[in-house]
Symmetry: C2
Subunit: 236 residues, 2 copies
Amino acid sequence: MPPHRARRIPEATVARLPVYLQILVEQTELGVESISSDGLAELGGVNAAKVRKDLSYLGSYGTRGVGYEVDYLVYQIRRELGLDHDWPVVIVGAGNLGQALAGYGGFNDRGFPVAGIVDIDDAKVDTLVGGVRVRPMSELSQIVASRNVSIGVVATPPASAQDAADRLVKAGVTSILNFAPVLLSVPVGVTVRKVDMAVELQILSYHEQRRASAAAAGTGGQLHAVPDEGRRGVSA
Amino acid sequence: MPPHRARRIPEATVARLPVYLQILVEQTELGVESISSDGLAELGGVNAAKVRKDLSYLGSYGTRGVGYEVDYLVYQIRRELGLDHDWPVVIVGAGNLGQALAGYGGFNDRGFPVAGIVDIDDAKVDTLVGGVRVRPMSELSQIVASRNVSIGVVATPPASAQDAADRLVKAGVTSILNFAPVLLSVPVGVTVRKVDMAVELQILSYHEQRRASAAAAGTGGQLHAVPDEGRRGVSA
DNA sequence: CATTGTGAAGCGTTTCACAGCC
DNA sequence: GGCTGTGAAACGCTTCACAATG
Protein backbone atom coordinates (compact mmCIF):
# COMPACT_ATOMS: atom_id res chain seq x y z
CA MET A 1 0.00 0.00 0.00
CA PRO A 2 1.34 3.42 -0.98
CA PRO A 3 1.96 5.81 1.89
CA HIS A 4 -1.30 7.59 1.16
CA ARG A 5 -4.50 6.60 -0.54
CA ALA A 6 -5.76 9.67 -2.39
CA ARG A 7 -6.99 11.51 0.68
CA ARG A 8 -9.41 14.34 0.30
CA ILE A 9 -7.66 17.62 0.93
CA PRO A 10 -9.82 20.53 2.13
CA GLU A 11 -10.16 23.30 -0.45
CA ALA A 12 -8.80 25.85 1.99
CA THR A 13 -5.64 23.79 2.27
CA VAL A 14 -5.36 23.29 -1.49
CA ALA A 15 -5.45 27.07 -1.87
CA ARG A 16 -2.53 27.45 0.53
CA LEU A 17 -0.28 24.70 -0.78
CA PRO A 18 0.87 26.79 -3.77
CA VAL A 19 1.91 29.52 -1.34
CA TYR A 20 3.94 27.13 0.77
CA LEU A 21 5.45 25.70 -2.38
CA GLN A 22 6.61 29.05 -3.60
CA ILE A 23 8.22 29.84 -0.25
CA LEU A 24 9.91 26.48 -0.07
CA VAL A 25 11.36 26.86 -3.54
CA GLU A 26 12.72 30.26 -2.57
CA GLN A 27 14.25 28.73 0.55
CA THR A 28 15.92 26.03 -1.50
CA GLU A 29 17.46 28.72 -3.64
CA LEU A 30 18.78 30.36 -0.50
CA GLY A 31 20.37 27.07 0.52
CA VAL A 32 17.97 26.37 3.39
CA GLU A 33 17.58 22.61 3.82
CA SER A 34 15.18 22.33 6.70
CA ILE A 35 12.28 24.43 7.98
CA SER A 36 9.95 24.30 10.95
CA SER A 37 6.21 24.88 10.85
CA ASP A 38 6.93 28.11 12.70
CA GLY A 39 9.38 29.29 10.08
CA LEU A 40 7.11 28.43 7.19
CA ALA A 41 4.17 30.04 8.97
CA GLU A 42 6.07 33.27 9.42
CA LEU A 43 7.10 33.43 5.78
CA GLY A 44 3.62 32.54 4.63
CA GLY A 45 1.74 34.91 6.89
CA VAL A 46 -0.30 32.20 8.59
CA ASN A 47 -0.05 30.46 11.93
CA ALA A 48 2.01 27.43 12.70
CA ALA A 49 -0.85 25.14 13.65
CA LYS A 50 -2.41 25.74 10.29
CA VAL A 51 0.80 24.89 8.51
CA ARG A 52 1.08 21.62 10.40
CA LYS A 53 -2.55 20.67 9.76
CA ASP A 54 -2.20 21.54 6.11
CA LEU A 55 0.96 19.52 5.68
CA SER A 56 -0.48 16.63 7.63
CA TYR A 57 -2.99 16.09 4.82
CA LEU A 58 -0.09 15.18 2.57
CA GLY A 59 1.27 12.65 5.03
CA SER A 60 3.69 12.65 7.92
CA TYR A 61 6.64 14.18 6.20
CA GLY A 62 8.13 16.12 9.09
CA THR A 63 10.58 15.07 11.78
CA ARG A 64 9.57 15.77 15.36
CA GLY A 65 12.03 17.98 17.12
CA VAL A 66 13.54 19.02 13.81
CA GLY A 67 11.13 20.24 11.14
CA TYR A 68 10.56 19.52 7.48
CA GLU A 69 13.16 18.78 4.84
CA VAL A 70 12.59 21.52 2.27
CA ASP A 71 13.41 19.48 -0.84
CA TYR A 72 11.24 16.60 0.12
CA LEU A 73 8.32 18.86 0.97
CA VAL A 74 8.66 20.62 -2.38
CA TYR A 75 8.52 17.24 -4.06
CA GLN A 76 5.46 16.14 -2.12
CA ILE A 77 3.50 19.35 -2.63
CA ARG A 78 4.34 19.33 -6.33
CA ARG A 79 3.13 15.77 -6.60
CA GLU A 80 -0.10 16.49 -4.75
CA LEU A 81 -0.87 19.55 -6.89
CA GLY A 82 -0.10 17.67 -10.07
CA LEU A 83 2.88 19.90 -10.77
CA ASP A 84 5.22 17.07 -11.60
CA HIS A 85 4.61 17.95 -15.23
CA ASP A 86 3.74 21.10 -17.16
CA TRP A 87 0.17 22.11 -17.92
CA PRO A 88 0.04 23.99 -21.19
CA VAL A 89 -2.73 26.58 -21.22
CA VAL A 90 -4.62 28.20 -24.03
CA ILE A 91 -5.72 31.82 -23.74
CA VAL A 92 -8.90 33.03 -25.41
CA GLY A 93 -8.89 36.76 -26.04
CA ALA A 94 -5.91 38.81 -27.15
CA GLY A 95 -6.95 42.16 -25.71
CA ASN A 96 -5.01 44.04 -23.07
CA LEU A 97 -5.31 41.33 -20.50
CA GLY A 98 -4.78 38.34 -22.77
CA GLN A 99 -1.65 39.93 -24.14
CA ALA A 100 -0.33 40.69 -20.70
CA LEU A 101 -0.96 37.13 -19.58
CA ALA A 102 0.75 35.69 -22.65
CA GLY A 103 3.75 37.90 -22.03
CA TYR A 104 3.81 37.46 -18.29
CA GLY A 105 6.76 35.33 -17.26
CA GLY A 106 4.96 33.99 -14.18
CA PHE A 107 2.86 31.77 -16.40
CA ASN A 108 5.56 30.22 -18.49
CA ASP A 109 7.97 29.98 -15.59
CA ARG A 110 5.76 28.21 -13.15
CA GLY A 111 4.77 25.23 -15.19
CA PHE A 112 2.00 26.71 -17.31
CA PRO A 113 3.44 27.38 -20.77
CA VAL A 114 1.17 29.23 -23.17
CA ALA A 115 0.26 26.68 -25.84
CA GLY A 116 -1.54 29.34 -27.80
CA ILE A 117 -3.60 32.49 -27.73
CA VAL A 118 -6.63 32.87 -29.94
CA ASP A 119 -9.02 35.70 -30.77
CA ILE A 120 -12.24 35.97 -32.79
CA ASP A 121 -11.16 39.30 -34.17
CA ASP A 122 -9.25 38.60 -37.38
CA ALA A 123 -7.59 41.99 -37.11
CA LYS A 124 -5.70 40.71 -34.08
CA VAL A 125 -4.75 37.39 -35.66
CA ASP A 126 -1.10 37.01 -36.58
CA THR A 127 0.01 39.88 -34.38
CA LEU A 128 2.71 38.87 -31.92
CA VAL A 129 2.19 39.11 -28.18
CA GLY A 130 4.85 38.04 -25.73
CA GLY A 131 6.57 36.00 -28.39
CA VAL A 132 3.38 34.13 -29.21
CA ARG A 133 1.48 34.61 -32.45
CA VAL A 134 -2.25 35.23 -32.06
CA ARG A 135 -4.17 32.55 -33.89
CA PRO A 136 -7.72 32.47 -35.22
CA MET A 137 -10.48 31.01 -33.10
CA SER A 138 -10.90 28.24 -35.66
CA GLU A 139 -7.58 26.76 -34.57
CA LEU A 140 -8.60 26.45 -30.92
CA SER A 141 -9.60 22.80 -31.08
CA GLN A 142 -6.47 21.87 -32.90
CA ILE A 143 -4.26 23.61 -30.32
CA VAL A 144 -6.06 21.91 -27.47
CA ALA A 145 -5.86 18.51 -29.11
CA SER A 146 -2.29 18.66 -30.34
CA ARG A 147 -0.79 20.14 -27.22
CA ASN A 148 -3.04 18.19 -24.88
CA VAL A 149 -4.35 21.28 -23.16
CA SER A 150 -6.72 20.84 -20.25
CA ILE A 151 -6.66 24.37 -18.84
CA GLY A 152 -8.11 27.36 -20.65
CA VAL A 153 -8.02 31.05 -19.74
CA VAL A 154 -10.91 33.33 -20.61
CA ALA A 155 -9.63 36.87 -21.16
CA THR A 156 -12.36 38.22 -23.40
CA PRO A 157 -14.81 41.07 -22.84
CA PRO A 158 -17.76 40.02 -20.67
CA ALA A 159 -20.14 39.67 -23.57
CA SER A 160 -18.01 37.03 -25.28
CA ALA A 161 -16.94 35.14 -22.19
CA GLN A 162 -19.67 32.50 -22.22
CA ASP A 163 -19.03 31.83 -25.88
CA ALA A 164 -15.32 31.48 -25.18
CA ALA A 165 -16.05 29.04 -22.37
CA ASP A 166 -18.38 27.01 -24.59
CA ARG A 167 -15.72 26.74 -27.25
CA LEU A 168 -13.07 25.76 -24.73
CA VAL A 169 -15.29 23.05 -23.32
CA LYS A 170 -16.17 21.78 -26.75
CA ALA A 171 -12.48 21.63 -27.60
CA GLY A 172 -11.92 19.41 -24.58
CA VAL A 173 -10.71 21.77 -21.87
CA THR A 174 -11.83 20.73 -18.37
CA SER A 175 -10.57 23.63 -16.25
CA ILE A 176 -11.12 27.31 -16.87
CA LEU A 177 -9.61 30.39 -15.31
CA ASN A 178 -12.08 33.18 -15.96
CA PHE A 179 -11.05 36.84 -15.88
CA ALA A 180 -14.35 38.12 -17.24
CA PRO A 181 -16.81 39.53 -14.71
CA VAL A 182 -19.56 37.06 -15.54
CA LEU A 183 -20.73 33.74 -14.17
CA LEU A 184 -19.74 31.04 -16.61
CA SER A 185 -22.10 28.17 -17.09
CA VAL A 186 -20.28 24.93 -17.82
CA PRO A 187 -21.09 21.20 -17.76
CA VAL A 188 -20.61 19.28 -14.55
CA GLY A 189 -17.07 18.00 -14.42
CA VAL A 190 -15.54 21.22 -15.64
CA THR A 191 -13.88 23.34 -12.95
CA VAL A 192 -14.06 27.10 -13.17
CA ARG A 193 -12.19 29.65 -11.10
CA LYS A 194 -12.92 33.31 -11.43
CA VAL A 195 -10.57 36.23 -10.91
CA ASP A 196 -12.39 39.53 -10.93
CA MET A 197 -10.23 42.55 -10.32
CA ALA A 198 -13.15 44.92 -9.97
CA VAL A 199 -14.49 42.72 -7.18
CA GLU A 200 -11.14 42.87 -5.41
CA LEU A 201 -11.11 46.64 -5.62
CA GLN A 202 -14.65 46.85 -4.34
CA ILE A 203 -13.73 44.75 -1.34
CA LEU A 204 -10.88 47.16 -0.64
CA SER A 205 -13.30 50.02 -1.08
CA TYR A 206 -15.53 48.52 1.58
CA HIS A 207 -12.65 48.46 4.04
CA GLU A 208 -11.64 52.01 3.17
CA GLN A 209 -15.17 53.16 3.66
CA ARG A 210 -15.38 51.48 7.05
CA ARG A 211 -12.16 53.09 8.13
CA ALA A 212 -13.54 56.45 7.07
CA SER A 213 -16.81 56.09 8.94
CA ALA A 214 -15.08 54.65 12.00
CA ALA A 215 -12.82 57.68 12.07
CA ALA A 216 -15.80 59.98 11.70
CA ALA A 217 -17.62 58.34 14.63
CA GLY A 218 -15.44 57.67 17.67
CA THR A 219 -12.24 59.64 17.28
CA GLY A 220 -10.49 57.67 20.00
CA GLY A 221 -11.34 54.42 18.27
CA GLN A 222 -8.42 52.27 17.25
CA LEU A 223 -9.33 49.97 14.39
CA HIS A 224 -7.69 46.87 15.68
CA ALA A 225 -5.96 46.73 19.02
CA VAL A 226 -2.44 47.25 17.74
CA PRO A 227 -0.56 44.06 18.63
CA ASP A 228 2.80 45.60 19.37
CA GLU A 229 4.20 44.57 16.04
CA GLY A 230 5.51 47.03 13.54
CA ARG A 231 4.08 45.52 10.42
CA ARG A 232 1.45 43.20 8.93
CA GLY A 233 -2.12 44.19 8.34
CA VAL A 234 -5.37 42.65 7.25
CA SER A 235 -4.51 40.26 4.48
CA ALA A 236 -7.73 38.41 3.74
CA MET B 1 -31.68 56.10 15.49
CA PRO B 2 -30.63 55.56 11.86
CA PRO B 3 -31.95 52.39 10.22
CA HIS B 4 -28.64 50.67 10.79
CA ARG B 5 -25.78 51.28 13.14
CA ALA B 6 -22.66 50.28 11.21
CA ARG B 7 -23.19 46.55 11.48
CA ARG B 8 -20.33 44.19 11.00
CA ILE B 9 -20.70 42.38 7.69
CA PRO B 10 -19.02 38.95 7.39
CA GLU B 11 -16.09 38.96 4.99
CA ALA B 12 -17.69 36.20 2.93
CA THR B 13 -20.70 38.43 2.40
CA VAL B 14 -18.57 41.46 1.54
CA ALA B 15 -16.91 39.36 -1.15
CA ARG B 16 -20.30 38.53 -2.70
CA LEU B 17 -21.89 41.97 -2.59
CA PRO B 18 -19.93 43.17 -5.64
CA VAL B 19 -21.24 40.18 -7.57
CA TYR B 20 -24.83 40.93 -6.64
CA LEU B 21 -24.24 44.57 -7.48
CA GLN B 22 -23.01 43.75 -10.94
CA ILE B 23 -26.00 41.53 -11.63
CA LEU B 24 -28.43 44.11 -10.33
CA VAL B 25 -26.94 46.82 -12.51
CA GLU B 26 -27.27 44.54 -15.52
CA GLN B 27 -30.88 43.87 -14.59
CA THR B 28 -31.58 47.58 -14.34
CA GLU B 29 -30.24 47.99 -17.85
CA LEU B 30 -32.60 45.26 -18.99
CA GLY B 31 -35.47 47.16 -17.44
CA VAL B 32 -36.06 44.71 -14.58
CA GLU B 33 -37.42 46.59 -11.57
CA SER B 34 -37.87 43.87 -9.01
CA ILE B 35 -36.06 40.65 -8.23
CA SER B 36 -36.55 37.79 -5.78
CA SER B 37 -33.79 36.13 -3.77
CA ASP B 38 -34.35 33.11 -6.00
CA GLY B 39 -33.81 35.09 -9.17
CA LEU B 40 -30.72 36.82 -7.87
CA ALA B 41 -29.37 33.51 -6.58
CA GLU B 42 -29.76 31.89 -9.97
CA LEU B 43 -27.98 34.71 -11.76
CA GLY B 44 -25.23 34.78 -9.16
CA GLY B 45 -24.66 31.05 -8.99
CA VAL B 46 -25.39 30.79 -5.27
CA ASN B 47 -28.38 29.63 -3.30
CA ALA B 48 -31.34 31.74 -2.31
CA ALA B 49 -30.90 31.42 1.44
CA LYS B 50 -27.42 32.82 1.11
CA VAL B 51 -28.69 35.78 -0.88
CA ARG B 52 -31.27 36.56 1.76
CA LYS B 53 -28.81 36.24 4.62
CA ASP B 54 -26.30 38.40 2.78
CA LEU B 55 -28.83 41.11 2.02
CA SER B 56 -30.21 40.99 5.53
CA TYR B 57 -26.88 42.35 6.80
CA LEU B 58 -27.63 45.55 4.92
CA GLY B 59 -31.04 45.88 6.49
CA SER B 60 -34.58 44.77 5.68
CA TYR B 61 -34.82 46.11 2.20
CA GLY B 62 -37.03 43.46 0.65
CA THR B 63 -40.79 43.13 0.53
CA ARG B 64 -42.26 39.83 1.67
CA GLY B 65 -44.25 38.13 -1.01
CA VAL B 66 -42.68 40.37 -3.65
CA GLY B 67 -38.90 40.59 -3.65
CA TYR B 68 -36.35 43.37 -3.79
CA GLU B 69 -36.58 46.62 -5.70
CA VAL B 70 -33.52 46.51 -7.96
CA ASP B 71 -32.71 50.23 -7.91
CA TYR B 72 -32.95 50.54 -4.21
CA LEU B 73 -30.79 47.49 -3.65
CA VAL B 74 -28.17 48.86 -6.02
CA TYR B 75 -28.17 52.05 -4.02
CA GLN B 76 -27.83 50.25 -0.69
CA ILE B 77 -25.06 47.92 -1.80
CA ARG B 78 -23.16 50.83 -3.35
CA ARG B 79 -23.47 52.74 -0.12
CA GLU B 80 -22.33 49.82 1.98
CA LEU B 81 -19.33 49.16 -0.24
CA GLY B 82 -18.39 52.81 -0.30
CA LEU B 83 -19.07 53.02 -4.02
CA ASP B 84 -21.08 56.21 -3.79
CA HIS B 85 -17.97 57.96 -5.01
CA ASP B 86 -14.98 57.03 -7.17
CA TRP B 87 -11.77 55.66 -5.73
CA PRO B 88 -8.84 56.72 -7.86
CA VAL B 89 -6.06 54.13 -7.85
CA VAL B 90 -2.38 54.40 -8.51
CA ILE B 91 -0.54 51.57 -10.23
CA VAL B 92 3.09 50.83 -9.42
CA GLY B 93 4.87 48.96 -12.20
CA ALA B 94 4.38 49.55 -15.91
CA GLY B 95 5.31 46.10 -17.16
CA ASN B 96 2.97 43.80 -19.05
CA LEU B 97 0.48 43.57 -16.25
CA GLY B 98 0.57 47.21 -15.14
CA GLN B 99 -0.01 48.31 -18.70
CA ALA B 100 -2.89 45.93 -19.16
CA LEU B 101 -4.49 47.13 -15.96
CA ALA B 102 -4.11 50.77 -16.92
CA GLY B 103 -5.69 50.04 -20.29
CA TYR B 104 -8.36 47.72 -18.96
CA GLY B 105 -11.74 49.38 -19.15
CA GLY B 106 -13.10 47.45 -16.19
CA PHE B 107 -11.06 49.60 -13.85
CA ASN B 108 -12.02 53.00 -15.13
CA ASP B 109 -15.61 52.01 -15.75
CA ARG B 110 -16.41 50.59 -12.39
CA GLY B 111 -15.46 53.49 -10.21
CA PHE B 112 -11.71 53.06 -10.00
CA PRO B 113 -10.12 55.57 -12.37
CA VAL B 114 -6.38 55.28 -12.82
CA ALA B 115 -4.93 58.38 -11.18
CA GLY B 116 -1.48 57.45 -12.37
CA ILE B 117 0.95 54.71 -13.19
CA VAL B 118 4.55 54.91 -12.06
CA ASP B 119 7.70 52.87 -12.68
CA ILE B 120 11.23 52.94 -11.29
CA ASP B 121 12.65 52.24 -14.72
CA ASP B 122 13.27 55.59 -16.37
CA ALA B 123 13.23 53.91 -19.77
CA LYS B 124 9.50 53.27 -19.27
CA VAL B 125 8.74 56.77 -18.02
CA ASP B 126 6.81 58.97 -20.43
CA THR B 127 5.66 56.08 -22.57
CA LEU B 128 1.90 55.97 -22.97
CA VAL B 129 -0.16 53.02 -21.78
CA GLY B 130 -3.91 52.96 -22.12
CA GLY B 131 -4.00 56.68 -22.56
CA VAL B 132 -2.05 57.27 -19.37
CA ARG B 133 1.51 58.53 -19.32
CA VAL B 134 3.92 56.51 -17.19
CA ARG B 135 5.44 58.74 -14.54
CA PRO B 136 8.62 58.43 -12.51
CA MET B 137 8.52 56.86 -9.08
CA SER B 138 9.47 60.19 -7.57
CA GLU B 139 6.04 61.55 -8.44
CA LEU B 140 4.17 58.83 -6.55
CA SER B 141 3.62 60.84 -3.37
CA GLN B 142 2.44 63.80 -5.29
CA ILE B 143 -0.08 61.75 -7.26
CA VAL B 144 -1.42 60.16 -4.10
CA ALA B 145 -1.68 63.49 -2.32
CA SER B 146 -3.16 65.54 -5.12
CA ARG B 147 -5.70 63.00 -6.27
CA ASN B 148 -6.47 61.77 -2.78
CA VAL B 149 -5.64 58.18 -3.61
CA SER B 150 -6.16 55.56 -0.94
CA ILE B 151 -5.86 52.42 -3.04
CA GLY B 152 -2.63 51.29 -4.68
CA VAL B 153 -1.96 48.43 -7.06
CA VAL B 154 1.35 46.57 -6.99
CA ALA B 155 2.14 45.24 -10.46
CA THR B 156 5.91 44.97 -10.19
CA PRO B 157 8.18 41.94 -10.42
CA PRO B 158 8.27 40.00 -7.14
CA ALA B 159 11.66 41.38 -6.12
CA SER B 160 10.43 44.98 -6.15
CA ALA B 161 6.99 44.38 -4.69
CA GLN B 162 7.85 45.04 -1.06
CA ASP B 163 9.62 48.23 -2.02
CA ALA B 164 6.60 49.29 -4.04
CA ALA B 165 4.33 48.60 -1.08
CA ASP B 166 6.59 50.54 1.26
CA ARG B 167 6.51 53.53 -1.04
CA LEU B 168 2.75 53.34 -1.41
CA VAL B 169 2.29 53.23 2.34
CA LYS B 170 4.69 56.10 2.87
CA ALA B 171 2.77 58.10 0.30
CA GLY B 172 -0.39 57.58 2.32
CA VAL B 173 -2.14 54.67 0.62
CA THR B 174 -4.11 52.47 3.04
CA SER B 175 -5.29 49.64 0.77
CA ILE B 176 -3.17 47.61 -1.62
CA LEU B 177 -4.09 45.16 -4.34
CA ASN B 178 -1.04 42.99 -4.84
CA PHE B 179 -0.42 41.07 -8.04
CA ALA B 180 3.10 40.00 -7.14
CA PRO B 181 3.53 36.48 -5.79
CA VAL B 182 4.99 37.60 -2.48
CA LEU B 183 3.65 38.26 0.99
CA LEU B 184 3.64 42.00 1.54
CA SER B 185 4.48 43.25 4.96
CA VAL B 186 2.59 46.42 5.83
CA PRO B 187 1.73 48.36 8.99
CA VAL B 188 -1.40 47.49 10.90
CA GLY B 189 -4.28 49.47 9.49
CA VAL B 190 -3.30 48.91 5.89
CA THR B 191 -5.39 46.33 4.06
CA VAL B 192 -3.77 44.07 1.48
CA ARG B 193 -5.45 41.74 -0.96
CA LYS B 194 -3.42 39.45 -3.13
CA VAL B 195 -4.26 38.15 -6.58
CA ASP B 196 -1.86 35.44 -7.68
CA MET B 197 -2.59 33.94 -11.05
CA ALA B 198 -0.03 31.18 -10.66
CA VAL B 199 -1.80 30.11 -7.48
CA GLU B 200 -5.12 29.99 -9.32
CA LEU B 201 -3.62 27.82 -12.04
CA GLN B 202 -2.07 25.53 -9.47
CA ILE B 203 -5.43 25.04 -7.80
CA LEU B 204 -6.88 24.10 -11.17
CA SER B 205 -3.94 21.78 -11.69
CA TYR B 206 -4.80 20.03 -8.44
CA HIS B 207 -8.33 19.37 -9.65
CA GLU B 208 -7.12 18.18 -13.04
CA GLN B 209 -4.69 15.87 -11.38
CA ARG B 210 -7.42 14.42 -9.15
CA ARG B 211 -9.65 13.85 -12.11
CA ALA B 212 -6.82 12.03 -13.84
CA SER B 213 -6.03 9.75 -10.93
CA ALA B 214 -9.71 9.12 -10.24
CA ALA B 215 -10.13 8.04 -13.85
CA ALA B 216 -7.09 5.80 -13.59
CA ALA B 217 -8.42 4.09 -10.46
CA GLY B 218 -12.12 3.18 -10.63
CA THR B 219 -13.15 3.40 -14.26
CA GLY B 220 -16.82 3.42 -13.38
CA GLY B 221 -16.28 6.31 -11.01
CA GLN B 222 -18.36 9.38 -11.63
CA LEU B 223 -16.70 12.41 -10.11
CA HIS B 224 -19.77 13.95 -8.63
CA ALA B 225 -23.16 12.39 -8.73
CA VAL B 226 -24.48 14.32 -11.71
CA PRO B 227 -27.43 16.34 -10.43
CA ASP B 228 -29.58 16.08 -13.51
CA GLU B 229 -28.72 19.56 -14.65
CA GLY B 230 -27.13 20.28 -17.97
CA ARG B 231 -24.68 22.89 -16.87
CA ARG B 232 -22.82 24.38 -13.93
CA GLY B 233 -19.68 22.86 -12.48
CA VAL B 234 -17.33 23.33 -9.58
CA SER B 235 -16.88 27.04 -9.22
CA ALA B 236 -14.98 27.47 -5.97
C1' DC C 1 -49.88 33.03 -0.79
C1' DA C 2 -45.32 34.02 -2.46
C1' DT C 3 -41.40 35.58 -0.57
C1' DT C 4 -38.61 37.71 3.02
C1' DG C 5 -36.04 37.59 7.39
C1' DT C 6 -33.97 34.79 10.76
C1' DG C 7 -33.23 31.46 14.70
C1' DA C 8 -31.13 27.12 14.85
C1' DA C 9 -28.74 23.12 12.92
C1' DG C 10 -25.04 21.59 10.09
C1' DC C 11 -20.60 21.79 8.20
C1' DG C 12 -15.95 23.09 7.05
C1' DT C 13 -12.00 25.61 8.81
C1' DT C 14 -9.09 27.37 12.35
C1' DT C 15 -7.03 27.23 16.63
C1' DC C 16 -5.80 25.07 20.93
C1' DA C 17 -3.35 22.10 23.58
C1' DC C 18 -0.81 18.26 24.35
C1' DA C 19 0.73 13.41 23.57
C1' DG C 20 4.17 11.32 20.72
C1' DC C 21 8.62 11.16 18.94
C1' DC C 22 13.30 12.28 17.38
C1' DG D 1 14.03 19.92 24.60
C1' DG D 2 12.01 21.05 20.57
C1' DC D 3 8.91 20.29 17.15
C1' DT D 4 5.46 17.43 14.77
C1' DG D 5 0.93 15.33 14.35
C1' DT D 6 -3.68 15.38 15.78
C1' DG D 7 -7.94 14.89 18.64
C1' DA D 8 -11.08 18.19 20.39
C1' DA D 9 -12.90 22.88 21.10
C1' DA D 10 -14.03 27.12 18.99
C1' DC D 11 -15.38 29.72 15.27
C1' DG D 12 -17.55 31.40 11.10
C1' DC D 13 -20.15 30.44 7.23
C1' DT D 14 -23.90 27.95 4.92
C1' DT D 15 -28.15 25.84 4.77
C1' DC D 16 -32.55 24.59 6.62
C1' DA D 17 -37.00 25.43 7.85
C1' DC D 18 -40.57 28.20 9.15
C1' DA D 19 -42.83 32.19 11.36
C1' DA D 20 -43.72 36.86 9.90
C1' DT D 21 -45.88 39.76 6.56
C1' DG D 22 -46.98 42.74 2.55
